[in-house]
Symmetry: C2
Subunit: 339 residues, 2 copies
């Protein structure tokens, strides 16, 4: 049994960050996992705030916190020297440290020494859990939904989070299953699927969405795209290992070429749905596409309404932008749940 759970609730470390967009992880956790956050911790009074109560690590520990999450990502992804005394304090107060940064926590000598002395853990969520293997290919009980895409980085995580939230509102038993670092912090656990040994991707997907009660849904965060020449292997392994009952295709308006490769056009949406379903049928012949999640963040409200309506006409399936709640999103959720 591989335990994917992170120690929680969290204290969110903001450090000395004064620019909100570099504290995305902290804001994401406040927005998507408020029940996992007891407060925030700064090393400078002028740092941005999530609005959660400011606490020392010791006070947070008393309030029930079990770990401190580095909620900021400065340019370069390095751990700043000014943070280190407070990070050490957290370990001494009995909190584990969790990071999604490029620099590994244990590579900072002061942190390695303090963790060793206190017996606390340094957890890098970019590192897969030990014990993964090739998997079994066996059918599992419960339902699974996987967000897939015409490309990387266009809304698969937000779509999965939004659908999870909507399922919950309707009283449907559901878990969000995370495959990337931000998602893992929000979910309180998960597997960074692109960091797994290639042979174990499908097996990792099986561990991530295990057999569940009948009627329970796992909503799995997709990674990459089977159409992205550099990341297609991760996406197909995740698709086959998840054995989704439902896929939701994700696309961004105006994304004409795949991330980083201007010579590779994004596929057209009907083709993307058809090929993804064909591949997915290999492990779940009953898989269906519930609809399209369209990222319209480049458009104003009127423009978004228009393009959503247009795509609905063309595709004949529900089309919604999960960041614009309303009737469209309700229709997409209806289509996911009608089985």
């Amino acid at each position: 049994m591989i335990d994917l759970t992170l120690p929680q609730p969290y204290l969110l470390f903001i450090g000395d960050m004064t620019i909100a967009r570099f504290a995305k992880t902290a804001f994401g956790l406040r927005d998507w996992a408020p029940e996992r956050c007891v407060g925030e911790c700064v090393v400078s009074a002028s740092a941005v705030t999530t609005g959660l109560p400011r606490m020392t690590p010791a006070d947070a520990r008393k309030a029930g916190a079990r770990s401190m999450v580095i909620g900021v990502a400065p340019v370069g992804g390095e751990i700043a020297p000014a943070w280190i005394p407070t990070l050490v304090q957290a370990l001494e107060a009995g909190l584990d440290l969790i990071s999604g940064m490029h620099t590994r926590l244990a590579s900072v000598p002061e942190l390695a020494a303090a963790a060793n002395q206190t017996g606390r853990r340094l957890i890098d969520v970019r590192t897969p859990p030990p014990g993964l293997s090739t998997g079994t290919g066996r059918k599992r009980s419960g339902f699974r939904l996987l967000t897939v895409g015409t490309d990387c980085a266009l809304g698969k995580k937000y779509t999965a989070l939004s659908l999870t939230r909507e399922f919950k509102k309707r009283g449907v038993p559901v878990d969000f299953r995370a495959t990337g670092q931000t998602g893992i912090l929000i979910a309180g656990g998960g597997i960074p699927i692109d960091a797994v040994v290639a042979d174990f991707v499908a097996g990792a997907a099986e561990v991530l969405s295990p057999a569940a009660a009948a009627g329970h849904w796992d909503v799995v965060e997709g990674q990459g795209s089977v159409f992205h020449p550099l990341y297609s292997g991760v996406s197909l392994g995740l698709l086959h290992g998840t054995q989704p009952d439902v896929i939701v295709m994700c696309h961004e308006v105006g994304r004409d070429a795949v991330l980083g490769l201007p010579d590779y056009p994004t596929p057209n949406i009907p083709e993307a749905i058809e090929l993804t379903l064909r591949l997915a049928r290999r492990t779940n012949p009953q898989v269906r596409c519930a609809g399209l999640s369209l990222n319209t963040s480049q458009l104003d409200a009127a423009g978004a309404r228009e393009v959503l309506a247009e795509q609905r006409r063309v595709l004949g399936i529900p089309v919604a932008d999960p960041l614009r709640p309303g009737a469209e999103l309700n229709h997409l959720v209806d289509a996911c749940l009608q089985g």
Copy 2:
């Protein structure tokens, strides 16, 4: 620049193995890479022989050997205590040690100590080289052929080796590019593609078959199958990263379900070719399937002839068993090279 080259020529270590089928690696190297082998080394006079001259590590070093390859794989994949003195002698004689076994060489304390003292290397070919990354997706010069399959473990390596040999016979400039441990030893280098971090599979494939002279062929050993639910991700990453100009589909007569998963039937061959080509077009729109490599090892000569002819009629493309040379194999090679 990542150097994939193993130190060679090799001395083949047979140890005390008396059963030929557990010395497959040694026999494979003798058959497919005789130019890389200077001799064999045993610890018991009753061991099987490859027919190569028996030598001590010191004599092999004098004859030009640069490494000793463990050419046997006993049940369990462990390094036997009886071998260790000779393995240490090899390091002391100035040879590196190379292994494709499950047990890592450095996990044997005597070998770790001797390597440390002598400055020789302990090379596990199951371990990918350092420095791999996500790749670029850019088109590379030269031609690439990839062997693909309806399943794992049905002849993709032998097909690639046979085609490489046939290309050479015709004076075509060609390199065999290995993706698994046995192939890596035969090629004198390569990348164990299924042990690479998932995100780097396509990038590793780019490193494995770099830009080459116009008219040069890289014949790349396929791994897994896009139809195998547990290994499809590796196969698609390798397919997209290799950007093959030509694929050769491999199948085994009588293989009705994929390896280890009796509930998953192997795809029918025309569907396997069509879907693999469709996926491959994403990175090389000109890709074509030159023919089918059919493993007929379960049949006698007459039965094989019959099934090869039958498949040729059904598929309308060259069909050959590379272990049964003759007109069929020549036709398959013709089809690979006609561009």
